[in-house]
Symmetry: C2
Subunit: 437 residues, 2 copies
């Protein structure tokens, strides 16, 4: 389908021209064919659909660079608890009961929420990833899915079970599948669930598969202490030693880095997924994002799972990322609106394996776009569109979502997900699996 | 009009029973006549309107305890700047051009935004407060309006001009006006705009009028240093010395308090309006809210003006208040969901002068209620309604707003404000008054 967006305020997230007023975008076969301010190209373009830009901002879709989608099932189930109680008494026991069908349902709900809040791509790490992939293929969203090569046998003493073959098959079946909407990375959950040999083997496997790694890195002081005890060095150092950083790495959290870790992350081109809401909510701490930005590290944003957020709203992550570091450092010029919106779009696309394919609005890129209805009191007057998106806009302002050139939401109605059915099913799952007492 | 809310999930914000499932609320003549879970009272109640509670949560309306409504005109006009440049090069020059009609228009837009985001009462401090009051009367919202007894002549050297008479008249005309929807406090802008005699005189005036004071207190380190230089003591200490705290005081920000200041605020019953977004965005710092809560100080929430936020969304203030302090102190049990929702409702009502009148859902209270439509992916499953409101809900989930027993919004349509006209007018004002280069 050929789609023409006419007379739009365009936030491109491209360095050459961040903002285009009264611009037109032509989309053909899933690709952005032109972005222009004159009418010549419109006249040549045969559009099946024309979307008018009155009171609309169009921008690249948001990229949720770190989440555990199916944790929607656990939303608001266990809040305001100490980390140990939260994780070991509530979250892990509940997760232990989830079937592949539950994870499929929870992921469907996550994607419904993400599309309705303007997210067009996400990086997911969870159980039963075959079922996550099935949901992603059906929904039409873009995703980076990771698969662990070592499963944890949690019955009794924790033992890593080699499942490299499962990982290889998952990669073979799904990497670049669904018209290129899916990338498959190797999962390294963390230094506390893996051991040194598993880290080396996982890194080696990612190298063999010519793909990347998605991991948690130095989220808490607990992890920091644990890794020093276990390896004689912190998680970043053991990752470097084991070759993890020799492949494209998506490292979530990175809260407790020392200066030398930041140097290594820069040197190795590690992508850092900042999860401000989750880090605050769990009391993990505050990542050194301004220091990392200054070094030129690619910073993107993630919501983490809904058990530690408790939603998948990337507008909130933008708000908080733009605000938090200014306050903590008492410096109002840190992390401005342009930097923030790039973290949530182009930086995220790069971090999750779609560099040069999506994340900016320009000719030749895949068409992952969101259109905001800005005819709202909280967006009036429109003194600065980029500031408006970062500081004032709400997820509910997203009116239309286009992914890979397909309209997945229009007038806030989902086109590929049966929202009512998905909500119904997840309510049933929660009823069955959660002990709410 | 008699309104019956049937089979609702009720978050009362009352200590005795925070949450009532399948409850009914009867509203007659603006007052909550009953809250019950049996059907006896329903049968006796003659309702003009019945609102069904399927997929709905009803809770007290949110109280925005510190804002400058008409600054909506300046929304997204000057962001990511150093404080001095922001205030002296952008905000003050723009504000200097605003006419009374502009302030009326900007306040109307602020109220449209606030009602649409579930705020039923606010405390406003701005220029041309006569025009703010006019807008409040027309819109039907509840408000604490403050009026300065000393105007600042900003032509050349700053000189305070005695306008106590204007303040007395404003109080006489408006305090308890509009069916009791308006309270009038005395404004003390700050220790940097007032001097010692003005502080004493303003406190004395508030005492005479038997009313309270709305002020900014220790927002920035700049103010802290300035007050020590000017008075030989910090702003909290000079306020105490001048008798400011001897009347009900609503003190916004309170970021830079030392232990003894916290003791004094507790002793004097000062109400603290926490403005987390504004304090972060301007790089002011992070208020010691957990310490103040531990002492038993009444903490409420405010958005501040839209130039430092950049919206009037109290759901965002709840999110950030609940998250921020956990992260800063690396303690996930600080400021739980129940404490947060009370800050945004009952604590706010008390702080802005409506203690015992509104802020909780119970028999005899004025009916200031909001109804959320929770049939949304981001609120599914509903494992905990209070957590859902604090951590997951969005302003756009507010479906119906009742203030003083009147329905001011239904199905997200405003009943007392012409939203289209208000947006149109404010766009014109911004076009005329702001130099956007």
């Amino acid at each position: 389908m050929n789609i023409l967006l006419k007379n739009m305020t365009i936030i491109t997230c491209d360095n050459t021209s961040m903002l285009i007023k009264n611009g037109n975008i032509g989309i053909a076969n899933g690709i952005i064919e032109f972005v222009s301010t004159n009418n010549d190209e419109i006249q040549k373009f045969e559009a099946d659909r024309i979307i008018d830009g009155k009171n609309r901002i169009v921008m690249p879709g948001l990229v949720n660079s770190h989440t555990h989608g199916a944790m929607t099932i656990l939303r608001n189930f266990a809040d305001d608890l100490a980390l140990e109680e939260w994780l070991f008494k509530k979250i892990f026991p509940a997760e232990g009961t989830l079937t592949p069908e539950d994870v499929y349902g929870g992921t469907m709900l996550a994607m419904a929420e993400m599309i309705k809040s303007g997210t067009t791509a996400f990086a997911d790490m969870y159980l039963h990833m075959e079922d996550v992939a099935k949901a992603v293929v059906e929904a039409g969203i873009r995703a980076n899915l990771c698969r662990t090569p070592f499963k944890l046998n949690s019955g009794g003493k924790a033992v890593l079970i080699d499942d490299r073959q499962g990982c290889i098959e998952y990669h073979r079946n799904l990497h670049n599948a669904a018209n290129g909407r899916i990338k498959v990375y190797v999962e390294i959950h963390s230094t506390y669930l893996f051991d040194e040999q598993a880290l080396k083997d996982a890194a080696e496997l990612a190298k063999q598969l010519n793909t990347g790694i998605h991991t948690h890195l130095l989220e808490t002081t607990g992890e920091l202490e644990f890794s020093i005890n276990k390896y004689g060095m912190n998680s970043a150092e053991i990752y470097e030693k084991c070759g993890v950083f020799d492949v494209p790495t998506l490292a979530a959290h990175c809260v407790h880095l020392k200066d030398s870790d930041i140097e290594v992350l820069k040197l190795k081109g590690v992508n850092v997924a900042h999860n401000p809401t989750s880090n605050l909510k769990l009391g993990s701490g505050i990542a050194r994002i301004p220091d990392m930005l200054e070094k030129g590290i690619n910073i993107c944003l993630g919501t983490d799972g809904t058990a530690s957020n408790n939603n998948l709203n990337m507008f909130e992550e933008m708000h908080i990322a733009a605000l938090l570091h200014k306050g903590v450092h008492m410096n109002p010029v840190l992390i401005n609106a342009k930097e923030t919106i790039k973290m949530a779009t182009v930086n995220g696309a790069k971090a999750i394996g779609f560099d040069g394919e999506t994340g900016v609005i320009k000719k030749g890129m895949k068409a992952d776009l969101i259109i905001l209805d800005v005819d709202k009191p909280h967006l009036c007057p429109m003194n600065d569109p980029v500031s408006a998106v970062v500081y004032s806009a709400q997820a509910s302002d997203v009116d239309t979502v286009i992914i890979d050139g397909n309209i997945l939401m229009e007038n806030r109605q989902l086109k590929t997900i049966d929202e009512e059915l998905v909500k119904y099913k997840v309510k049933q799952i929660a009823e069955k699996r959660l002990n709410r007492d």
